[in-house]
Amino acid sequence: MTTLVIAEHDNASLKGATRNALAAAAKVGGDIHLLVAGNNAAGAANQGAACAGIAKVLLADVPYYLSAENLAALVVSIAGNYSHIFAPASTFGKNFMPRVAALLDVAQVSEIVAVLSENTFVRPVYAGNALATVESADKTKVVTVRATAFPAVEDGGSAPVENLAALPDSGLSKQVGQELTKSERPELGAAKVVIAGGRGMGSGENYRKLLEPLADKLNAALGASRAAVDAGFVPNDFQVGQTGKIVAPQLYIAVGISGAIQHLAGMKDSKVIVAINKNPDEPIFQIADYGLVADLNEAVPELVAKL
């Protein structure tokens, strides 16, 4: 029994969620191999080799755009060696893993939060309002992993790195542009403190004016509710919720957020939740550890001043 974990990385280094997926794979038992497919990705492969608990790193140097089509084909080409294939349930993993499952004619188990045995997993459904325990009888278990549910694997290994030959480019799609948000702040999915704003912020300008100083003070990542994204205050990759990012920081401060079901799905596993809202009846207060009923336009600057 061997699990193949597909690394998410930027060639130079591993993304944090890869370490969480490795932790989930470790719960399965058996050996773990890590596939690092990229362009000059030796840096990421070496970081993978240093992770605790890995038997082997496979490094595939892919000299063309690594589309979902190309990555899925590469994974399928070696899938016969594995009982399990794991990847982070980020936009990276969600994109190509269902292709892998379909090509292998097996089900995919999406976004697991627990591994109960080699074939039984727990995953949230209905925006996290229910937890389904599912059993797979398929020959290969194709699984994506919710990062916040598994503590990251630390360094402590020295696995060999083997080269894996790339397949030819499928040519089905090509990347013609990229607009990545440049930010000095911690990554939303991995930050210890998250400050999120909702429709109550009123405008994108007000969101930035009030929340950026608070995020600076606490070295926090900035997030938002779907309502704030819909209203155009912030880009979509700020979105926390069922259809956005799932976060579980030490401290989550929800400002001007009502607490719709789909937002709570993305943050209710945070360790400490603070809610600031002028309406005491909003559902966000039901899950907040510390609710402050106040006008956010006054409370947030005061909070910045007192920290």
Partner: protein
């Protein structure tokens, strides 16, 4: 150019669903049902592509029980031309089975573009569009926030962690719709009436030669751990004090 849009009947997004007491599933009795919100966005995008001349026909398809006819009529009322119900009775449908049914429909209908919602808000699987693309050997552009038909391909802006990615794909292809792709319109009453007269064909999985037996067995569906909330603080000073000295998180 023909566009195929798969739509799913799901519990309304604003309804809080609870597991049944015997943990055999969730209790959906008498709950409000609606079209999956991402599928509404997919239908809207297809209709807009038809309105701006890039597409000639929009066909909607739903796999589910006969109640899914209602969802198909909703899609017809906002501009889809005709509908196909793949009547699966009450059999539990999993994403791989739906992708296989849609593949069979694609073989019959030969669409140039499939626009699906990125995720259904009931099983939260986020699989069908990508699986269909794989089964057909087609390119995919998942989590789209912008779709343009350019020449004989499509240029799609995708929402990815950390920003946006722009892809060019050859057609036929599968695009899955993310939140910001568009804002779906509401149906006007005369269009709701007209939708009742639009064609709606019914097929079965057997007609399409697809085995829809579930692959994953659900052992139980349980309530997530309850969070103890509801605490209040008097003012900002109290909040800072509690975060520092009680919760010790700052």
């Amino acid at each position: 150019m023909k566009i195929l849009v798969p739509v799913k009947r799901v519990v309304d997004a604003n309804v809080k669903v609870r597991p049944k007491a015997d943990e055999s599933g969730v209790d959906l009795a008498n709950l409000k049902m609606a079209m999956n919100p991402f599928d509404e966005i997919a239908v809207e995008e297809a209709v807009r592509l038809k309105e701006n001349g890039a597409a000639t026909e929009v066909v909607v398809v739903s796999c589910g029980s006969s109640a899914s006819q209602e969802t198909l009529r909703t899609a017809l009322s906002v501009g889809a031309d005709r509908a196909i119900l793949v009547d699966c009775g009450e059999t539990e449908l999993q994403p791989l089975a739906v992708a296989k049914l849609l593949k069979a429909v694609c073989v019959e209908e030969a669409p140039k573009l499939v626009i699906a919602g990125k995720q259904a808000i009931d099983d939260d699987a986020n699989q069908v569009g990508q699986m269909l693309a794989a089964l057909q050997g087609w390119p995919q552009a998942a989590f789209a926030s912008k779709v343009e038909i350019v020449g004989d391909g499509a240029k799609v802006t995708r929402e990815v962690d950390g920003g946006l990615e722009i892809l060019e794909v050859s057609l036929p292809a599968v695009v899955t719709a993310d939140l910001r792709l568009n804002e779906p319109r509401y149906a006007k009453l005369p269009d709701v009436m007209k939708a009742k007269k639009k064609p709606l064909d019914t097929k079965t999985p057997a007609d399409l030669g697809v085995d829809i037996a579930p692959r994953l067995k659900t052992l139980k569906v349980s309530e997530p751990p309850k969070r103890q909330g509801g605490g209040k603080v008097a003012d900002v000073a109290d909040l800072v004090n509690k975060l520092k000295n009680e919760a010790k998180v700052i």
